[in-house]
C-alpha cells in the first residue's frame, strides 16, 4: 500500500469505515489523518482500503512583498530554524527559504522597509563551512551595494561563528549587517522568529557599521537585543534568550518599535572593504584532565594554528609542554584561550602561564575561543605569518574588550 502524501482514503479499521488522508509510512505502520485532524498510526495489516482518490493540490494563500518607498533592506536567507518548516517524511523540522510568512506578521514593516529577498542557500547551520563564509561575504557585499542594510537569516547553531568570520573579513561596511535566527521554529504560534526578524529589520536601518546578531533579550517577547558578532555566544541550547554579549552590554535594544543604543559601536563607513581569504587548517582543542601530548600532536598535524581552550587564566598540564614545543617547531601557531565562559587569559600570573609565554604561545586576551578561531583563520588567510601574534593581540573588530565590568553578563 503506497500512496502519494495527501491521498484521500476510505478505510475500514476496527470495524469502522473512515475517511482519512494518507500521511506517511514507517515500516509496517501507516500514519493517516482523521477528519478531526488527528493523525493516527496503525499497523498496515489492520486496515482495509476501500477507496482512494488522488491528492488535491494544496492551495497556498500568499501575499507578495510590496516594493514601496521604505528603507531598502536586503534579506539573505541561508536556512536555519528561523525559516524552518516541518519535514513530514522524517517527522522533523527542516530548513525552508520561505521567509515571507514571517514578515507578513507585521504589516507595518512592508510600509517601512522595501525588502529584497535573496536566497543564498538552504542549510542547517551546523553544516556551514568556512568556504561558505567566503561566498556569503561576497553576497553581503553585493547586497550592501544595493541596500541600506542587510539582514542574514541563519541557523542559531553556528551563527556566532559566521558572524565573527564575516566581522573579520569586512574591515569596513556601508551599512549594518544583521544576522538573525530563532530558537522556536516559525511554524509555531509562539515562535521567536517573528520578533527577532522585526528587530533585525529595525537594526538594519540604523547607521551601525558592524556585523551583529539580533535575538531575544529575555524569555518575554518584548525586547530584542543587538549583539556584536565578535562578542556573542549561543549560551543555551533551547531558550529564546540564548545569545548573550559576553562580558559586555548589547549594542542596542529594540522595544516598542524603537531602537535604543546601550553601548558604543562603529558607524557605517562610505566604503566597503572585504578581505575574503580564509585559512581552513585551524582547529580548536579543549584541554581536560587526561588529554595526552599525543592527542594534542595528532590534532595539530597539518594545521597552521590551533586554538587551545585551556583552564582558568590559560593553563594546560605541564606534561603537554613538550608537545606544544614540538607543534610550534613545525610552524604551527598555538593560541591560548580559556574554557571559562568569560574572563581574560593572562600568562603572567602563574608559573604555568609564564612558561607557556616563554615557549611562544599566543595569549588571546579575553577573546572568545570561537572568535579566536575565526580570527586566526582570517589572519592566516590574509596576512604574513610574522604579523600573527601582534594582530591576534590587536583589537580589530571589537573582539577584545579592554575593560570588563562588574554586573555585565558573563
Amino acid at each position: 500500500m503506497d500512496f502519494a502524501r495527501g491521498t484521500k482514503l476510505t478505510i475500514k479499521y476496527n470495524g469502522n469505515v473512515m475517511e482519512v488522508t494518507y500521511i506517511s509510512r514507517d515500516e509496517d505502520y501507516l500514519t493517516v489523518k482523521l477528519q478531526n485532524g488527528y493523525n493516527i498510526t496503525i499497523p498496515e495489516n489492520k486496515i482495509d482500503v476501500l477507496k482512494s482518490s488522488e491528492p488535491q493540490t494544496v492551495k497556498k494563500k500568499r501575499i507578495t512583498l510590496k516594493h514601496g518607498n521604505g528603507t531598502p533592506i536586503s534579506l539573505i536567507t541561508t536556512g536555519g530554524t528561523i525559516v524552518s518548516a516541518i519535514d513530514y517524511e522524517t517527522g522533523a523540522v527542516h530548513p525552508s527559504t520561505d521567509i515571507r510568512r514571517i514578515i507578513d506578521r507585521y504589516p507595518y514593516m512592508e510600509e517601512k522597509y522595501t525588502i529584497a529577498v535573496r536566497e543564498f542557500d538552504n542549510i542547517l547551520s551546523e553544516n556551514m563551512q568556512p568556504e561558505m563564509w567566503i561566498k556569503l561575504a561576497g553576497v553581503v557585499k553585493e547586497e550592501l551595494g544595493k541596500s541600506h542594510g542587510v539582514v542574514v537569516s541563519h541557523g542559531t547553531d553556528t551563527m556566532s561563528y559566521t558572524a565573527s568570520a564575516l566581522a573579520f573579513m569586512f574591515e569596513s561596511l556601508t551599512g549594518p549587517v544583521i544576522m538573525v535566527g530563532s530558537q522556536r521554529s516559525s511554524d509555531r504560534p509562539s515562535s521567536d522568529s517573528f520578533g527577532n526578524m522585526e528587530g533585525a529589520m529595525a537594526f538594519s536601518s540604523t547607521n551601525v557599521g558592524e556585523i551583529c546578531i539580533s535575538m531575544h533579550s529575555g524569555t518575554s517577547d518584548n525586547s530584542i537585543s543587538l549583539h556584536r558578532g565578535t562578542r556573542t555566544r549561543k549560551m543555551h541550547s533551547t531558550r529564546r534568550d540564548a545569545f548573550r554579549t559576553v562580558s559586555g552590554k548589547p549594542i542596542a535594544e529594540f522595544k516598542n518599535k524603537n531602537v535604543d543604543f546601550l553601548s558604543e559601536y562603529k558607524e557605517k563607513s562610505d566604503k566597503i572593504s572585504l578581505s575574503d581569504k580564509i585559512e581552513e587548517a585551524v582547529s580548536m582543542v579543549y584541554f581536560h584532565p587526561g588529554l595526552s601530548g599525543q592527542d594534542l600532536e595528532k590534532l595539530s598535524e597539518g594545521k597552521r594554528a590551533i586554538i587551545i581552550m585551556g583552564t582558568g587564566l590559560g593553563h594546560i598540564s605541564q606534561s603537554l609542554f613538550p608537545s606544544v614545543r614540538k607543534i610550534m617547531s613545525m610552524g604551527t601557531k598555538v593560541v591560548m584561550t580559556t574554557q571559562c565562559m568569560a574572563g581574560r587569559v593572562n600568562l603572567n600570573v602563574y608559573s604555568t602561564g609564564r612558561e607557556l609565554k616563554k615557549i611562544g604561545v599566543v595569549s588571546a586576551g579575553n577573546m572568545l575561543p570561537e572568535v579566536a578561531l575565526t580570527k586566526a583563520m582570517y589572519l592566516l588567510g590574509n596576512y604574513p605569518d610574522e604579523d600573527f601574534e601582534s594582530m591576534m593581540n590587536m583589537n580589530m573588530r571589537g573582539e577584545i574588550m579592554e575593560r570588563e565590568f562588574l554586573g555585565d553578563c558573563y
Binding site: 477528519q35 493523525n39 493516527i40 498510526t41 494563500k61 509555531r188 504560534p189
Partner: protein, 604 residues
Amino acid sequence: MIAINTKDKKIKIGLEIHLQLSTGKLFCKCPDMNNSGIKGKFSRKLFPTENESGDVDVAALQEERKNVIYEYEVSDNSCLVEADEEPPHEINADALDTALQIAFSFNSEVLNAVSVMRKVVVDGSNTSGFQRTAVVSTGGYVTVNEKKVGLTTICIEEDSARRVESGNDHTVFSLDRLGIPLVEISTAPDIETFQEAVDVAREIGMRAMLTGNIRRDSDAIRQDVNFSMGYGRVEIKGISKLSLISEALIAEENRQKFLSEAIGIFLERGGFDGTVLIDYTEKIAKSESKIIQKGIAAGNRIFAGKLENLGGILKSGNYRIGKELADALKLFSIGGFIHSDELPGYGITQDEVNEIKKFLKSRENDAIILISIPESKKDIAQDAINKRVEKLLSLDFSETRAANEDGTSRFLRPISGSGRMYPETDIPTIKIKNSRMVELNSAAPKSFDQALSSFTDEWEISRQEAEIILATGRKKEFIELAKLWGKPREMSRMILQSIPEIERKYRKKLEYGDLKTLVEKIATKNYGRISLEMAIDQCISGKSIEEVVISDDIRPLDRNELKIIVERIRKSGDIRKENIIAKVKNETNRPVDPKIVMEIYQNS
C-alpha cells in the same frame, strides 16, 4: 411571529469528558501539584501559523484579531518546558498507561502506536500556541441504564494554562495547570436526553476513578457538551460540575429555540443590509447619561448605528438577539452597547432617543444602538456586529461556547476546523509493546461494581466505605496508608471519619504528604490508633511533624505508668470493672490501652 422553516428538531448530545491525572505532568518531570506562589513572570505574543496543508485555521485567525499580550505567572510546578523554552521530554509513561487502562476498561480499540499532534490554540492558554494531544484508542462504549452509548476516541493531552486574570489589554495565566495530563473521552452523539447526559458523564467519571490516578482537585474533571437540535452543532466547553450539565443543556435548548423564533420575525420583516456606525459624539455630548459622559471623559467616541428590522427582538420577552451581538463584541474587548429595546434608559431621555432615530432615518421595526469606543475600534465593532447578524441569519448556530458558572454560556469562537492539527515533531511516534497492552488490559476495571467487589474483598472493609474511597479517587492513597498502618479498617475509618472531623474542627486541611509521614512514624513506634489521632490533631492545629512525633503527649502510657495510676485510683476508693477505664482516662491526657488497664485491674 411566524414559524420559520423548521427541520427535524431531534436533539443529539455528545460528551467530552476531561480527566486530570495525578501522575505528574505529561511532557516534563514537573509534579501536577503547585506548592507555592509566583516564581516569576514573562509575557508573550502568539501568531497563528499555517498548518501542514497551508491553511490558517479559522478559530486561530479569530484569536489573532484580539492582538493581546499574554502574561504568564511561573509556578513552582513548571519548568522550561511549560515556558516553551525547551522541547517536550518523553511522554510520561504512568500517564499513558492510565489512559490506556481507561481505554481498555471501555473496550475501546487501543492503537499500537501513539502519534502526538499539535492542536493550534492561540488564546494564550498554551505558551507554545498549541496543545499536545494524541489519540490512544478509537471506538468502545459505556452502558448506562442498559443503553450502550458509543465512544469515538480516547485521547491523552496536556491541560492548558489556568486563566488568572482577563483585562482589556492583557490576559494573565498561571503555568501551574499547563501540561497536567488529561484523558479526554469523547462519546458519539448518541445521547438523547439531558438526564442521560448526566448519567453517562457520571458513569465515565466513576469508572476512570478506579485507576486511582485521577486528580482530586476541584476542576480535575471537566465536561464539554456537544448539542444539536437542527441549527448546527454547538460545543459548550468547560462545565465543571455534573449537576450543571443538564442546566447548560436546558439553557442552550431555550436559547436556540427563542433565537430561531426571533430570527423568523427578523427574516419576515425583510432582514438586514448591515449597519454603519456614525460618529454621534458631538450631538449627544450634552446628554446627562453617565455612560455617555464617562465614555467621552475616557477619550472614546460615541457611535450610533441603525439595525434594520431588529427593533423589539434585541431584548424583549424571550428574545435576546442583543446579547448575541454583545458577546461578539466582547471578544474584541468592547464592553457592550446600548440598544433601543432598553431605551429610554441609562440616563438617555426619550427626546434623545427620538433625535437619534430621526438622525439615522430609523423606521418602525428598526433598532438603534449607541456604542462608546475609541475611534480605532470603530471598524472592528461594525464588522463584528454585521458578521454576527449574518451568521444568525443563516440559522446555522454552530459555534463553540463557554459555560458560565450559572448554567448559561457565552460565545467563544467558531467551531475549530481540522486545520488546527499538525504533528508534534519533537516527539517520535510512541510504539506500545504487546506485553504492555496485555498487562494493562488485564488490570483495567471493566465495571465499577466488579472493581468494588474485589477491592472490598482484598482489604476487608465495608462495601460502603469501599465505595466512597473508590468513587472519590482515593484508592491509591488508601492502599498506601493501609499498608503502612497494617490495619486497613482502622485506616478507612481514619480517612473517612476521624480526619474529616479534626479538619472541620480546625477548618484546615491536612496535606496528604504530612499524613503519610505521620502514619509511617507512628506505625514505626508501634503506637495505636489513638496516638495517631492525637498526632493528627496536633499536626493540624499547627505543630510541626517533627515536634509532634517526639512529643510525650502521644506516647501511650506503659504498663508501669498504668499500674501506678490504677493503684492511686484504687486507694481513693470506688473502683469497679465498669468504671476503671474511664477513671484511668480521667487521670491522664495520654493514650491509654484499655486492654492493659483491664489486665492490671484483674491481676492485682
